[in-house]
Amino acid sequence: MSDPAMESLYREVILDHYKNPRGHGVIEGADAEAEGQNPLCGDEVSIYVAFDDDGETIEDVKFSGRGCAISQAATSMLMEMTKGRTAQQVAALDKDELLAEIGVPLTPVRLKCAMLGLTTLKVALHKAKGTPLPDGLAGFDDLELS
Protein backbone atom coordinates (compact mmCIF):
# COMPACT_ATOMS: atom_id res chain seq x y z
CA MET A 1 0.00 0.00 0.00
CA SER A 2 1.46 3.31 -0.97
CA ASP A 3 -1.57 5.52 -0.47
CA PRO A 4 -1.23 7.17 2.97
CA ALA A 5 -5.01 7.57 3.39
CA MET A 6 -5.53 3.90 2.69
CA GLU A 7 -2.66 2.90 4.94
CA SER A 8 -4.25 4.91 7.71
CA LEU A 9 -7.77 3.49 7.45
CA TYR A 10 -6.82 -0.08 6.80
CA ARG A 11 -3.85 -0.10 9.16
CA GLU A 12 -2.35 -3.42 10.13
CA VAL A 13 -4.16 -3.81 13.45
CA ILE A 14 -7.59 -3.35 11.81
CA LEU A 15 -6.83 -5.93 9.16
CA ASP A 16 -5.45 -8.28 11.82
CA HIS A 17 -8.64 -8.08 13.89
CA TYR A 18 -10.73 -8.48 10.73
CA LYS A 19 -8.87 -11.55 9.53
CA ASN A 20 -8.43 -13.10 12.99
CA PRO A 21 -11.41 -11.87 14.98
CA ARG A 22 -11.14 -12.34 18.75
CA GLY A 23 -14.15 -13.80 20.48
CA HIS A 24 -15.84 -14.89 17.26
CA GLY A 25 -18.51 -17.50 17.87
CA VAL A 26 -21.68 -18.27 19.78
CA ILE A 27 -22.22 -18.90 23.48
CA GLU A 28 -24.95 -21.52 23.84
CA GLY A 29 -27.38 -20.62 26.63
CA ALA A 30 -25.90 -17.13 26.97
CA ASP A 31 -26.98 -15.00 29.94
CA ALA A 32 -27.48 -11.99 27.65
CA GLU A 33 -27.72 -11.67 23.91
CA ALA A 34 -28.90 -9.27 21.23
CA GLU A 35 -28.88 -8.89 17.50
CA GLY A 36 -28.00 -5.61 15.84
CA GLN A 37 -28.30 -4.36 12.28
CA ASN A 38 -26.94 -1.42 10.41
CA PRO A 39 -29.79 -0.35 8.12
CA LEU A 40 -27.38 1.57 5.89
CA CYS A 41 -25.43 -1.43 4.71
CA GLY A 42 -27.33 -4.45 6.04
CA ASP A 43 -24.50 -5.52 8.35
CA GLU A 44 -25.63 -7.85 11.12
CA VAL A 45 -24.02 -8.76 14.40
CA SER A 46 -25.18 -10.97 17.27
CA ILE A 47 -23.54 -10.68 20.68
CA TYR A 48 -23.57 -13.28 23.46
CA VAL A 49 -22.56 -12.66 27.06
CA ALA A 50 -21.90 -15.11 29.91
CA PHE A 51 -21.61 -13.66 33.42
CA ASP A 52 -19.37 -14.79 36.25
CA ASP A 53 -20.88 -16.34 39.40
CA ASP A 54 -21.44 -12.79 40.72
CA GLY A 55 -23.90 -12.26 37.89
CA GLU A 56 -22.29 -8.91 37.05
CA THR A 57 -18.82 -9.52 35.69
CA ILE A 58 -18.55 -10.52 32.06
CA GLU A 59 -16.82 -13.88 32.05
CA ASP A 60 -17.06 -14.41 28.32
CA VAL A 61 -18.38 -12.44 25.39
CA LYS A 62 -18.61 -13.56 21.77
CA PHE A 63 -20.01 -12.25 18.51
CA SER A 64 -21.21 -13.64 15.22
CA GLY A 65 -22.52 -12.06 12.04
CA ARG A 66 -21.17 -10.45 8.94
CA GLY A 67 -19.97 -7.03 8.06
CA CYS A 68 -17.21 -4.83 6.74
CA ALA A 69 -13.64 -4.77 8.04
CA ILE A 70 -14.35 -1.74 10.22
CA SER A 71 -17.43 -3.23 11.93
CA GLN A 72 -15.87 -6.66 12.39
CA ALA A 73 -12.52 -5.32 13.64
CA ALA A 74 -14.20 -2.88 16.01
CA THR A 75 -16.41 -5.65 17.44
CA SER A 76 -13.41 -7.94 17.79
CA MET A 77 -11.55 -5.20 19.72
CA LEU A 78 -14.64 -4.69 21.84
CA MET A 79 -14.64 -8.35 22.89
CA GLU A 80 -11.11 -7.96 24.25
CA MET A 81 -11.94 -4.65 25.91
CA THR A 82 -15.06 -5.76 27.78
CA LYS A 83 -14.19 -9.22 29.05
CA GLY A 84 -13.71 -8.97 32.84
CA ARG A 85 -15.70 -5.74 33.19
CA THR A 86 -19.09 -5.52 34.84
CA ALA A 87 -22.33 -4.94 32.98
CA GLN A 88 -22.59 -1.46 34.54
CA GLN A 89 -19.08 -0.56 33.44
CA VAL A 90 -19.75 -1.65 29.87
CA ALA A 91 -23.09 0.18 29.78
CA ALA A 92 -21.16 3.32 30.73
CA LEU A 93 -18.33 2.65 28.28
CA ASP A 94 -17.79 5.77 26.22
CA LYS A 95 -17.63 5.36 22.48
CA ASP A 96 -14.44 7.40 22.44
CA GLU A 97 -12.68 4.62 24.33
CA LEU A 98 -13.47 2.22 21.49
CA LEU A 99 -12.62 4.85 18.87
CA ALA A 100 -9.24 5.37 20.51
CA GLU A 101 -8.63 1.64 20.24
CA ILE A 102 -9.59 1.67 16.55
CA GLY A 103 -7.22 4.58 16.19
CA VAL A 104 -8.16 5.79 12.70
CA PRO A 105 -10.36 8.72 11.70
CA LEU A 106 -13.79 7.56 10.48
CA THR A 107 -16.34 9.26 8.26
CA PRO A 108 -19.90 9.44 9.68
CA VAL A 109 -21.02 6.41 7.65
CA ARG A 110 -18.08 4.29 8.80
CA LEU A 111 -18.61 5.48 12.39
CA LYS A 112 -21.96 3.64 12.32
CA CYS A 113 -20.11 0.50 11.19
CA ALA A 114 -17.64 0.87 14.04
CA MET A 115 -20.36 1.38 16.68
CA LEU A 116 -22.60 -1.55 15.66
CA GLY A 117 -20.97 -4.02 18.08
CA LEU A 118 -20.92 -1.67 21.06
CA THR A 119 -24.54 -0.64 20.55
CA THR A 120 -25.64 -4.25 20.27
CA LEU A 121 -23.68 -5.26 23.37
CA LYS A 122 -25.29 -2.46 25.36
CA VAL A 123 -28.74 -3.58 24.18
CA ALA A 124 -27.96 -7.16 25.26
CA LEU A 125 -26.93 -5.93 28.73
CA HIS A 126 -30.02 -3.71 28.93
CA LYS A 127 -32.27 -6.67 28.22
CA ALA A 128 -30.56 -8.91 30.77
CA LYS A 129 -29.67 -6.44 33.50
CA GLY A 130 -31.70 -3.30 32.89
CA THR A 131 -28.56 -1.20 32.39
CA PRO A 132 -28.99 2.05 30.44
CA LEU A 133 -29.49 1.85 26.70
CA PRO A 134 -26.87 3.47 24.44
CA ASP A 135 -27.28 7.07 23.31
CA GLY A 136 -29.84 7.39 20.58
CA LEU A 137 -31.78 4.34 21.71
CA ALA A 138 -32.82 5.82 25.06
CA GLY A 139 -36.59 6.05 25.23
CA PHE A 140 -37.03 2.99 23.06
CA ASP A 141 -37.52 0.76 26.11
CA ASP A 142 -40.87 -0.45 24.94
CA LEU A 143 -39.55 -1.67 21.63
CA GLU A 144 -38.71 -5.27 21.11
CA LEU A 145 -34.95 -5.04 20.71
CA SER A 146 -33.83 -8.38 19.45
Partner: protein
Protein backbone atom coordinates in the same frame (compact mmCIF):
# COMPACT_ATOMS: atom_id res chain seq x y z
CA UNK B 1 -31.35 30.59 -22.24
CA UNK B 2 -29.95 27.08 -22.22
CA UNK B 3 -27.74 26.22 -25.14
CA UNK B 4 -28.14 23.05 -27.18
CA UNK B 5 -26.31 19.97 -25.94
CA UNK B 6 -22.75 19.65 -27.12
CA UNK B 7 -23.48 16.43 -28.98
CA UNK B 8 -26.67 15.74 -30.87
CA UNK B 9 -27.68 12.56 -32.64
CA UNK B 10 -24.59 10.43 -32.13
CA UNK B 11 -23.78 9.90 -28.50
CA UNK B 12 -20.20 10.99 -27.82
CA UNK B 13 -19.77 10.56 -24.06
CA UNK B 14 -16.39 12.31 -24.02
CA UNK B 15 -17.98 15.40 -25.55
CA UNK B 16 -21.18 15.24 -23.47
CA UNK B 17 -19.07 15.04 -20.33
CA UNK B 18 -18.02 18.63 -20.89
CA UNK B 19 -21.64 19.67 -20.26
CA UNK B 20 -21.27 18.43 -16.66
CA UNK B 21 -19.35 20.85 -14.41
CA UNK B 22 -18.87 18.19 -11.71
CA UNK B 23 -16.25 16.45 -13.83
CA UNK B 24 -14.00 19.51 -13.77
CA UNK B 25 -12.56 18.40 -10.41
CA UNK B 26 -10.18 15.71 -9.25
CA UNK B 27 -11.12 13.32 -6.47
CA UNK B 28 -8.31 12.41 -4.06
CA UNK B 29 -5.90 13.60 -6.75
CA UNK B 30 -7.36 11.23 -9.38
CA UNK B 31 -9.84 11.83 -12.21
CA UNK B 32 -13.38 11.41 -10.89
CA UNK B 33 -14.88 8.13 -12.07
CA UNK B 34 -18.53 8.61 -11.11
CA UNK B 35 -20.19 5.22 -11.28
CA UNK B 36 -23.25 5.86 -9.11
CA UNK B 37 -25.70 7.37 -11.56
CA UNK B 38 -28.40 4.85 -10.67
CA UNK B 39 -28.60 6.51 -7.26
CA UNK B 40 -28.71 9.96 -8.81
CA UNK B 41 -27.37 11.38 -12.04
CA UNK B 42 -25.05 14.34 -12.45
CA UNK B 43 -26.40 17.60 -13.84
CA UNK B 44 -25.69 19.25 -17.20
CA UNK B 45 -25.03 22.97 -17.39
CA UNK B 46 -28.07 23.36 -19.70
CA UNK B 47 -30.41 22.18 -16.94
CA UNK B 48 -28.72 24.31 -14.28
CA UNK B 49 -28.92 27.37 -16.54
CA UNK B 50 -32.63 26.81 -17.16
CA UNK B 51 -33.29 26.86 -13.41
CA UNK B 52 -31.13 29.95 -12.93
CA UNK B 53 -32.90 31.67 -15.79
CA UNK B 54 -36.28 30.90 -14.26
CA UNK B 55 -35.22 32.25 -10.86
CA UNK B 56 -33.59 35.32 -12.38
CA UNK B 57 -36.33 36.32 -14.82
CA UNK B 58 -39.65 34.58 -14.17
CA UNK B 59 -39.94 33.65 -10.51
CA UNK B 60 -43.20 34.09 -8.63
CA UNK B 61 -45.74 31.69 -7.19
CA UNK B 62 -47.76 29.95 -9.88
CA UNK B 63 -51.49 29.76 -10.55
CA UNK B 64 -52.32 32.64 -8.18
CA UNK B 65 -51.07 36.08 -9.16
CA UNK B 66 -52.60 38.06 -12.00
CA UNK B 67 -49.38 39.97 -12.60
CA UNK B 68 -46.96 39.32 -15.41
CA UNK B 69 -44.30 37.47 -13.40
CA UNK B 70 -46.84 35.03 -11.96
CA UNK B 71 -48.14 34.36 -15.44
CA UNK B 72 -44.63 33.75 -16.72
CA UNK B 73 -43.89 31.36 -13.86
CA UNK B 74 -47.17 29.51 -14.48
CA UNK B 75 -46.39 29.22 -18.17
CA UNK B 76 -42.92 27.83 -17.37
CA UNK B 77 -44.34 25.22 -14.99
CA UNK B 78 -47.05 24.20 -17.43
CA UNK B 79 -44.51 24.01 -20.24
CA UNK B 80 -42.50 21.60 -18.09
CA UNK B 81 -45.65 19.53 -17.54
CA UNK B 82 -46.20 19.37 -21.29
CA UNK B 83 -42.57 18.28 -21.80
CA UNK B 84 -43.12 15.47 -19.28
CA UNK B 85 -46.35 14.46 -20.99
CA UNK B 86 -44.57 14.18 -24.33
CA UNK B 87 -41.64 12.36 -22.72
CA UNK B 88 -44.02 9.72 -21.35
CA UNK B 89 -46.27 9.80 -24.42
CA UNK B 90 -49.20 10.36 -22.07
CA UNK B 91 -52.51 11.25 -23.73
CA UNK B 92 -53.24 14.30 -21.58
CA UNK B 93 -51.18 16.84 -19.60
CA UNK B 94 -53.78 16.77 -16.81
CA UNK B 95 -52.66 13.22 -16.07
CA UNK B 96 -49.13 14.40 -15.23
CA UNK B 97 -48.74 15.22 -11.55
CA UNK B 98 -45.58 16.81 -10.24
CA UNK B 99 -44.27 15.21 -7.06
CA UNK B 100 -40.92 15.20 -5.26
CA UNK B 101 -39.74 11.85 -6.61
CA UNK B 102 -40.91 8.35 -7.52
CA UNK B 103 -41.22 7.46 -3.84
CA UNK B 104 -43.78 10.21 -3.36
CA UNK B 105 -45.56 9.20 -6.57
CA UNK B 106 -45.88 5.59 -5.37
CA UNK B 107 -47.02 6.67 -1.91
CA UNK B 108 -49.63 8.85 -3.59
CA UNK B 109 -51.07 5.81 -5.37
CA UNK B 110 -50.81 3.57 -2.30
CA UNK B 111 -52.64 6.10 -0.13
CA UNK B 112 -55.06 7.76 -2.53
CA UNK B 113 -56.01 4.55 -4.35
CA UNK B 114 -54.98 1.71 -2.05
CA UNK B 115 -56.39 3.05 1.19
CA UNK B 116 -59.82 3.49 -0.41
CA UNK B 117 -60.01 0.42 -2.63
CA UNK B 118 -58.28 -2.41 -0.79
CA UNK B 119 -60.47 -4.70 1.28
CA UNK B 120 -59.55 -7.31 3.86
CA UNK B 121 -58.28 -10.44 2.10
CA UNK B 122 -57.41 -8.66 -1.18
CA UNK B 123 -53.97 -9.33 -2.62
CA UNK B 124 -51.34 -6.75 -3.48
CA UNK B 125 -48.63 -8.29 -5.64
CA UNK B 126 -45.11 -6.85 -5.86
CA UNK B 127 -41.83 -8.55 -6.81
CA UNK B 128 -38.71 -9.62 -4.97
CA UNK B 129 -36.85 -7.18 -7.20
CA UNK B 130 -38.58 -4.05 -5.93
CA UNK B 131 -36.91 -0.98 -4.54
CA UNK B 132 -38.24 -0.29 -1.06
CA UNK B 133 -40.15 2.64 -2.59
CA UNK B 134 -42.51 0.27 -4.43
CA UNK B 135 -42.56 -2.28 -1.62
CA UNK B 136 -42.91 -0.55 1.73
CA UNK B 137 -45.88 1.72 0.80
CA UNK B 138 -47.81 -1.35 -0.42
CA UNK B 139 -46.85 -3.42 2.59
CA UNK B 140 -47.92 -0.56 4.85
CA UNK B 141 -51.23 0.26 3.18
CA UNK B 142 -52.12 -3.41 2.64
CA UNK B 143 -51.49 -3.94 6.35
CA UNK B 144 -53.74 -1.03 7.26
CA UNK B 145 -56.57 -2.44 5.14
CA UNK B 146 -56.12 -6.09 6.13
CA UNK B 147 -55.04 -6.94 2.59
CA UNK B 148 -52.20 -9.36 1.92
CA UNK B 149 -48.87 -8.61 0.27
CA UNK B 150 -47.56 -11.30 -2.09
CA UNK B 151 -44.18 -11.43 -3.85
CA UNK B 152 -43.45 -12.61 -7.37
CA UNK B 153 -40.20 -14.51 -6.77
CA UNK B 154 -36.96 -14.41 -8.72
CA UNK B 155 -35.49 -17.50 -10.33
CA UNK B 156 -31.85 -18.51 -9.89
CA UNK B 157 -30.83 -16.20 -12.76
CA UNK B 158 -32.32 -13.16 -11.09
CA UNK B 159 -35.29 -13.02 -13.48
CA UNK B 160 -38.93 -12.80 -12.45
CA UNK B 161 -40.49 -16.24 -12.11
CA UNK B 162 -44.08 -15.84 -13.28
CA UNK B 163 -45.03 -19.52 -12.96
CA UNK B 164 -46.95 -18.91 -9.73
CA UNK B 165 -49.38 -16.30 -11.10
CA UNK B 166 -52.26 -18.74 -11.61
CA UNK B 167 -51.96 -19.96 -8.04
CA UNK B 168 -52.02 -16.34 -6.85
CA UNK B 169 -55.22 -15.58 -8.74
CA UNK B 170 -56.88 -18.58 -7.08
CA UNK B 171 -55.72 -17.40 -3.67
CA UNK B 172 -57.68 -14.18 -3.57
CA UNK B 173 -58.82 -11.05 -5.33
CA UNK B 174 -55.72 -9.39 -6.81
CA UNK B 175 -56.25 -5.62 -6.67
CA UNK B 176 -52.77 -4.19 -7.28
CA UNK B 177 -49.77 -5.41 -9.25
CA UNK B 178 -46.75 -3.18 -8.72
CA UNK B 179 -43.34 -3.67 -10.26
CA UNK B 180 -40.37 -1.78 -11.60
CA UNK B 181 -39.52 -1.64 -15.27
CA UNK B 182 -35.76 -1.64 -14.65
CA UNK B 183 -34.26 -2.98 -11.43
CA UNK B 184 -32.13 -0.41 -9.64
CA UNK B 185 -30.09 -3.18 -8.11
CA UNK B 186 -29.41 -5.66 -10.91
CA UNK B 187 -30.22 -3.49 -13.92
CA UNK B 188 -32.65 -6.12 -15.21
CA UNK B 189 -35.08 -4.77 -17.81
CA UNK B 190 -38.20 -6.61 -16.72
CA UNK B 191 -40.57 -8.03 -19.35
CA UNK B 192 -43.69 -6.55 -17.78
CA UNK B 193 -46.12 -7.23 -20.67
CA UNK B 194 -47.34 -10.48 -19.15
CA UNK B 195 -47.71 -8.92 -15.72
CA UNK B 196 -49.72 -6.03 -17.19
CA UNK B 197 -52.03 -8.42 -19.01
CA UNK B 198 -52.40 -10.65 -15.95
CA UNK B 199 -53.10 -7.67 -13.69
CA UNK B 200 -55.88 -6.47 -15.96
CA UNK B 201 -57.36 -10.00 -16.27
CA UNK B 202 -57.69 -9.92 -12.47
CA UNK B 203 -59.28 -6.48 -12.57
CA UNK B 204 -56.22 -5.13 -10.76
CA UNK B 205 -54.41 -1.87 -11.38
CA UNK B 206 -50.84 -2.07 -12.70
CA UNK B 207 -48.44 0.34 -11.03
CA UNK B 208 -45.08 0.79 -12.71
CA UNK B 209 -42.02 2.16 -10.95
CA UNK B 210 -40.12 3.65 -13.90
CA UNK B 211 -37.58 5.57 -11.80
CA UNK B 212 -34.71 3.53 -13.16
CA UNK B 213 -36.15 3.09 -16.67
CA UNK B 214 -36.97 6.71 -17.50
CA UNK B 215 -33.34 7.91 -17.66
CA UNK B 216 -32.25 5.07 -19.90
CA UNK B 217 -34.91 4.11 -22.43
CA UNK B 218 -37.83 5.52 -24.35
CA UNK B 219 -40.99 5.32 -22.26
CA UNK B 220 -44.49 5.11 -23.65
CA UNK B 221 -47.12 4.78 -20.96
CA UNK B 222 -49.81 3.95 -23.52
CA UNK B 223 -47.82 1.15 -25.13
CA UNK B 224 -46.89 -0.09 -21.66
CA UNK B 225 -50.55 -0.38 -20.74
CA UNK B 226 -49.90 0.64 -17.14
CA UNK B 227 -52.39 2.48 -14.95
CA UNK B 228 -49.84 4.48 -12.99
CA UNK B 229 -46.19 5.26 -13.79
CA UNK B 230 -43.73 6.90 -11.40
CA UNK B 231 -40.51 8.69 -12.35
CA UNK B 232 -37.83 10.62 -10.46
CA UNK B 233 -36.32 13.69 -12.10
CA UNK B 234 -33.00 13.54 -10.28
CA UNK B 235 -32.04 10.26 -11.94
CA UNK B 236 -32.51 11.74 -15.42
CA UNK B 237 -30.33 14.86 -15.28
CA UNK B 238 -33.01 16.89 -13.52
CA UNK B 239 -32.68 18.49 -10.10
CA UNK B 240 -33.48 16.73 -6.85
CA UNK B 241 -37.00 17.44 -5.59
CA UNK B 242 -39.01 17.02 -8.78
CA UNK B 243 -40.53 13.85 -10.19
CA UNK B 244 -43.79 12.88 -11.80
CA UNK B 245 -46.70 10.52 -11.47
CA UNK B 246 -48.70 9.66 -14.53
CA UNK B 247 -52.09 8.05 -14.06
CA UNK B 248 -55.17 7.34 -16.15
CA UNK B 249 -57.71 10.15 -15.99
CA UNK B 250 -60.62 7.88 -15.07
CA UNK B 251 -58.69 6.51 -12.08
CA UNK B 252 -57.29 9.86 -10.95
CA UNK B 253 -60.72 11.46 -11.12
CA UNK B 254 -62.28 8.82 -8.90
CA UNK B 255 -59.48 9.00 -6.33
CA UNK B 256 -59.46 10.87 -3.06
CA UNK B 257 -56.61 13.36 -2.61
CA UNK B 258 -53.26 12.42 -1.06
CA UNK B 259 -52.09 15.70 0.49
CA UNK B 260 -54.64 18.39 1.23
CA UNK B 261 -54.29 22.14 1.67
CA UNK B 262 -53.71 25.08 -0.60
CA UNK B 263 -54.13 24.96 -4.37
CA UNK B 264 -55.77 21.52 -4.48
CA UNK B 265 -59.26 22.76 -3.71
CA UNK B 266 -62.29 23.87 -5.65
CA UNK B 267 -64.07 25.54 -2.73
CA UNK B 268 -63.55 25.53 1.00
CA UNK B 269 -66.43 26.08 3.43
CA UNK B 270 -66.59 25.49 7.15
CA UNK B 271 -68.66 22.37 6.59
CA UNK B 272 -67.22 21.03 3.35
CA UNK B 273 -64.31 21.27 0.95
CA UNK B 274 -64.42 20.15 -2.64
CA UNK B 275 -61.39 19.12 -4.62
CA UNK B 276 -59.86 20.89 -7.58
CA UNK B 277 -59.53 19.56 -11.11
CA UNK B 278 -56.69 17.36 -12.30
CA UNK B 279 -53.77 17.67 -11.89
CA UNK B 280 -54.23 20.28 -9.14
CA UNK B 281 -56.19 17.93 -6.90
CA UNK B 282 -52.92 16.09 -6.28
CA UNK B 283 -50.60 19.11 -6.08
CA UNK B 284 -51.29 20.65 -2.67
CA UNK B 285 -49.08 23.54 -1.66
CA UNK B 286 -46.49 25.44 -3.64
CA UNK B 287 -45.09 23.18 -6.36
CA UNK B 288 -41.38 22.53 -6.86
CA UNK B 289 -41.54 25.18 -9.59
CA UNK B 290 -37.92 25.80 -10.48
CA UNK B 291 -37.23 22.09 -10.09
CA UNK B 292 -40.03 21.24 -12.52
CA UNK B 293 -38.61 23.79 -14.96
CA UNK B 294 -35.21 22.13 -14.53
CA UNK B 295 -36.79 18.73 -15.15
CA UNK B 296 -38.33 20.06 -18.37
CA UNK B 297 -34.90 21.27 -19.46
CA UNK B 298 -33.42 17.87 -18.57
CA UNK B 299 -36.00 16.24 -20.86
CA UNK B 300 -34.97 18.64 -23.63
CA UNK B 301 -31.36 17.64 -23.04
CA UNK B 302 -32.06 13.89 -23.08
CA UNK B 303 -34.28 14.07 -26.16
CA UNK B 304 -31.72 16.11 -28.08
CA UNK B 305 -29.23 13.30 -27.47
CA UNK B 306 -31.89 10.65 -28.10
CA UNK B 307 -33.09 8.04 -25.61
CA UNK B 308 -32.25 5.32 -28.15
CA UNK B 309 -28.66 6.55 -28.31
CA UNK B 310 -28.48 6.63 -24.50
CA UNK B 311 -29.84 3.09 -24.23
CA UNK B 312 -27.38 1.79 -26.84
CA UNK B 313 -24.49 3.53 -25.07
CA UNK B 314 -25.45 1.91 -21.78
CA UNK B 315 -25.73 -1.57 -23.27
CA UNK B 316 -22.27 -1.08 -24.72
CA UNK B 317 -20.84 0.03 -21.38
CA UNK B 318 -22.56 -2.81 -19.52
CA UNK B 319 -21.08 -5.34 -21.93
CA UNK B 320 -17.65 -3.75 -21.62
CA UNK B 321 -17.86 -3.64 -17.81
CA UNK B 322 -19.05 -7.26 -17.53
CA UNK B 323 -16.13 -8.34 -19.72
CA UNK B 324 -13.53 -6.33 -17.81
CA UNK B 325 -14.86 -7.26 -14.37
CA UNK B 326 -14.59 -10.96 -15.19
CA UNK B 327 -10.81 -10.45 -15.07
CA UNK B 328 -10.96 -9.59 -11.38
CA UNK B 329 -10.16 -12.57 -9.15
CA UNK B 330 -12.86 -13.71 -6.73
CA UNK B 331 -15.63 -11.63 -8.32
CA UNK B 332 -19.30 -12.65 -8.41
CA UNK B 333 -21.45 -10.76 -10.93
CA UNK B 334 -25.21 -10.56 -10.41
CA UNK B 335 -27.98 -10.05 -12.94
CA UNK B 336 -28.80 -10.79 -16.56
CA UNK B 337 -26.65 -10.56 -19.72
CA UNK B 338 -25.74 -7.09 -21.02
CA UNK B 339 -28.44 -7.00 -23.71
CA UNK B 340 -31.18 -7.34 -21.10
CA UNK B 341 -29.88 -4.83 -18.60
CA UNK B 342 -29.56 -1.08 -18.26
CA UNK B 343 -26.17 0.36 -17.32
CA UNK B 344 -26.01 -1.24 -13.89
CA UNK B 345 -23.59 -3.91 -12.71
CA UNK B 346 -23.78 -5.41 -9.20
CA UNK B 347 -20.95 -7.56 -7.89
CA UNK B 348 -19.15 -8.85 -4.83
CA UNK B 349 -15.51 -9.65 -4.19
CA UNK B 350 -15.11 -12.89 -2.27
CA UNK B 351 -14.40 -12.26 1.39
CA UNK B 352 -14.35 -8.48 1.11
CA UNK B 353 -17.31 -6.46 2.30
CA UNK B 354 -18.74 -3.91 -0.18
CA UNK B 355 -18.17 -1.09 2.30
CA UNK B 356 -14.46 -1.81 2.30
CA UNK B 357 -14.40 -2.15 -1.48
CA UNK B 358 -16.19 1.18 -1.94
CA UNK B 359 -14.01 2.96 0.59
CA UNK B 360 -10.77 1.86 -1.05
CA UNK B 361 -12.17 2.69 -4.51
CA UNK B 362 -13.06 6.17 -3.26
CA UNK B 363 -9.40 6.78 -2.51
CA UNK B 364 -8.73 5.94 -6.19
CA UNK B 365 -11.29 8.53 -7.30
CA UNK B 366 -13.93 5.89 -8.10
CA UNK B 367 -17.45 6.47 -6.72
CA UNK B 368 -19.63 3.34 -6.57
CA UNK B 369 -22.52 2.38 -4.33
CA UNK B 370 -22.10 -0.23 -1.61
CA UNK B 371 -25.04 -1.49 0.36
CA UNK B 372 -28.43 -3.07 -0.10
CA UNK B 373 -29.58 -0.41 -2.61
CA UNK B 374 -32.93 -0.19 -0.80
CA UNK B 375 -33.59 -3.79 -1.89
CA UNK B 376 -33.32 -5.85 1.27
CA UNK B 377 -35.77 -8.54 0.05
CA UNK B 378 -33.53 -9.02 -3.02
CA UNK B 379 -30.33 -9.09 -0.94
CA UNK B 380 -31.95 -11.75 1.22
CA UNK B 381 -32.74 -13.76 -1.90
CA UNK B 382 -29.15 -13.45 -3.15
CA UNK B 383 -27.95 -14.54 0.29
CA UNK B 384 -25.80 -11.44 0.80
CA UNK B 385 -26.08 -8.46 3.12
CA UNK B 386 -24.93 -6.03 0.46
CA UNK B 387 -23.39 -5.73 -2.97
CA UNK B 388 -21.19 -3.28 -4.84
CA UNK B 389 -22.96 -1.51 -7.67
CA UNK B 390 -21.40 0.38 -10.54
CA UNK B 391 -23.88 2.26 -12.70
CA UNK B 392 -23.45 4.21 -15.90
CA UNK B 393 -25.10 7.02 -17.76
CA UNK B 394 -24.80 9.02 -20.96
CA UNK B 395 -21.61 10.72 -19.71
CA UNK B 396 -19.87 7.53 -18.59
CA UNK B 397 -16.72 6.67 -20.54
CA UNK B 398 -14.90 3.31 -20.75
CA UNK B 399 -11.87 4.86 -19.03
CA UNK B 400 -13.95 5.09 -15.85
CA UNK B 401 -14.62 1.37 -16.01
CA UNK B 402 -10.88 0.78 -16.48
CA UNK B 403 -10.27 2.92 -13.39
CA UNK B 404 -12.79 0.76 -11.49
CA UNK B 405 -11.03 -2.46 -12.52
CA UNK B 406 -7.61 -1.07 -11.52
CA UNK B 407 -9.15 0.04 -8.22
CA UNK B 408 -10.46 -3.47 -7.57
CA UNK B 409 -6.95 -4.84 -7.98
CA UNK B 410 -5.83 -2.31 -5.35
CA UNK B 411 -8.62 -3.59 -3.06
CA UNK B 412 -7.19 -7.08 -3.40
CA UNK B 413 -3.73 -5.79 -2.43
CA UNK B 414 -5.06 -4.28 0.80
CA UNK B 415 -6.82 -7.50 1.79
CA UNK B 416 -4.16 -9.88 0.44
Amino acid sequence: MASAPTATKKLDAHALRRDFPIFEQKMHGKPLAFLDSAASSQKPRQMLEAMDHFYETSYANVHRGVYELAERATAALEHARERMRAFLNAPDTREVIFVRNATEALNLVAYAWGLWNLEPGDLVVVTELEHHSNFVPWQYIAGKRGAELRLVPLDDHGELDLSGLDALSREGKVKVVATNLVSNSLGTINPVDRLVAWAHEQGAIFVCDAAQAAPHMKLDVQALGADFVAVSGHKMCGPSGAGALWGRTELLQRMEPFLTGGHMINSVRADKTTWGELPHKFEAGTAPMAEAVGLGAAIDYLEAIGLDAIEAHEHELAAYALGRLEEVPGITLYGPPADRRAGIVSFNLEGIHPHDVAQILDLQGVAIRAGHHCCQPLMHKLGVAATNRASFYLYTIPEEIDQLVEGLHAVHKVFA
